[in-house]
Homo-oligomer: 304 residues x 2
């Protein structure tokens, strides 16, 4: 199966701790790397991950709080020093370009590659990136400032042909693509060979949803329904539900409730408040509602 | 003796490695903290150091390369979240305020303290900070862009009075301060008691010089002469002397030659190029010229 991995570079929240880096992840889809959020130190963690810098051409920033974007200028500057030539595409809420461009102009003067900004609207869900194998769409979130999550969806791949059957019916090469795409085949004598005799279904397309930062929004279930992996912030334990509401964050059990309502395969929680010495209370509360929950931690890699 | 300590938060150079954080140090003089340079991750390292955030009111930025200042916005933002009220003073080359102010305005909106910028001229040596116990002056360096080092000098402290002698001569309280400051004392009968009978000299004032980044400049010896500790960049080994010259950096043995010429007590080297897996070649080459050399490393604390 083609690679679809989530690499956690950081999963802490705004206040720095000695246990966690601020938010940053890298989604690796068939060796194309997509970074989601870029907190301070993300470039160090990226190096630690041994992911190839040159494979990273797209960075998605969920919102403009420092713990999700302060690592960006360091990353861009380092790429410049390493002689990168490929354009770097940055997808973000609309205020980022005006903040970043002066820094890029000053600190990355004369560098050998371009930075291209792609601002998006955080209030509705839309496709902001697409290539032959994946689409990325925004997920409107509710935080103190404009904020969006990201939904990565593999595109369906054609069925696999069964070579022996193709040979058996002496089907010519020019017909193969249509068969891969689901068509039946009609023999010269008019006999129809049903597609399912000629092909095996390919692996179902996989999907990953990233939701941070946001207050609990039950209606997100419709957008993230059935995803293979849902990352959802779980900043607080249930005892801090009031604080979660006030600060537009989510508790671990609320994140789990969403995962359950949306019938996702697995839940990954993160963005832990600095008040927790470890995340055991958060994972415990989430698992009570949705047992298939994993706690994010630095350098964790999850394969879909 | 009053505290005078140098805490190394980071001593790597521009390209991030897994061994070093970029440049940042904290000078602790009598529990007043002075940060020098603030590379990405400095706030994490500051937390690790267990130095008190609230004691830090002055940050000195040597020059505007990213590995010396990309950690600043994260530091300022975190201080805001922690409810800091004391003004933070930032001393830097003149371009920093225009680059930082928009970031502070956006990311630290509504925070409870002020940031005050103090731009300085990097071309001459001048006092940029002074309080009752210390002065900080700039050291003009030669790098690819405007760059200054910093010289921390304790002010001389008054002599200690010898209580028994004061009592013996029945010297009144109002005369004590003048005696501390070196005056002799005249008894009612006209007899002059020399100051040295009444006082013991206090500890000589200590000094610390920070020089990074710069090409080798023999004339710096005059400015840093006799300091207790000289931090000097030693980006390269002697085999890369050409590269050092081209990039306006220094080799370890050049740093040591300066230490020797300036007759400093101790040399601390750092700002290691990412090409060195460890710093043994650098410390070896420096020690050959100036034996009392120490290699900087993260979390090292040197007491003067």
């Amino acid at each position: 199966m083609e690679k679809f991995e989530i690499n956690i570079l950081g999963c802490g929240s705004a206040l720095p701790t000695m246990k966690h880096y601020p938010s940053s992840q890298v989604v690796n889809i068939r060796e194309k790397l997509f970074m989601i959020d870029c907190g301070e130190g993300a470039q160090l963690q990226l190096r630690r991950s041994r992911l190839k810098f040159s494979r990273l051409n797209h960075v998605f920033i969920s919102h403009l709080h420092g713990d999700h974007c302060f690592g960006l200028i360091g990353l861009l500057s380092t790429f410049g020093m390493l002689g990168r030539t490929a354009t770097m595409h940055i997808y973000s809420p609309k205020e980022l370009p005006a903040l970043m461009q002066p820094l890029v102009d000053f600190f990355c003067k004369g560098m050998s590659y371009r930075v291209e900004f792609h601002p998006f609207d955080t209030r509705s869900s839309s496709i902001i990136y697409e290539d032959r194998s994946v689409t990325v769409s925004t997920i409107p979130l509710r935080h103190r400032i404009a904020c969006a999550g990201f939904l990565f969806r593999e595109k369906p791949t054609p069925n696999h042909i069964i070579r022996d059957m193709i040979d058996f019916y002496a089907i010519p090469t020019f017909a193969i693509n249509r068969i891969k795409n689901g068509e039946d085949y009609t023999l010269p004598d008019g006999t129809i060979i049903p597609n399912k005799w000629l092909t095996r279904p390919s692996a179902p397309p996989r999907s990953y949803a990233y939701c941070s930062d946001t207050m609990y929004q039950p209606e997100l279930a419709d957008i993230v329904r059935n995803v293979d992996l849902l990352y959802h912030e779980a900043t607080f334990a249930e005892s801090e539900a009031g604080r979660a509401q006030e600060t537009f964050h989510t508790t671990a059990s609320q994140a789990a409730r969403l995962a359950k309502d949306a019938d996702v395969k697995r839940l990954l929680i993160g963005h832990y408040s600095a008040r927790y010495d470890d995340e055991s209370i958060l994972i415990k509360e989430a698992c009570e509602v949705f047992p298939n929950t994993v706690a994010a931690k630095e350098n964790l890699c999850i394969t879909l």
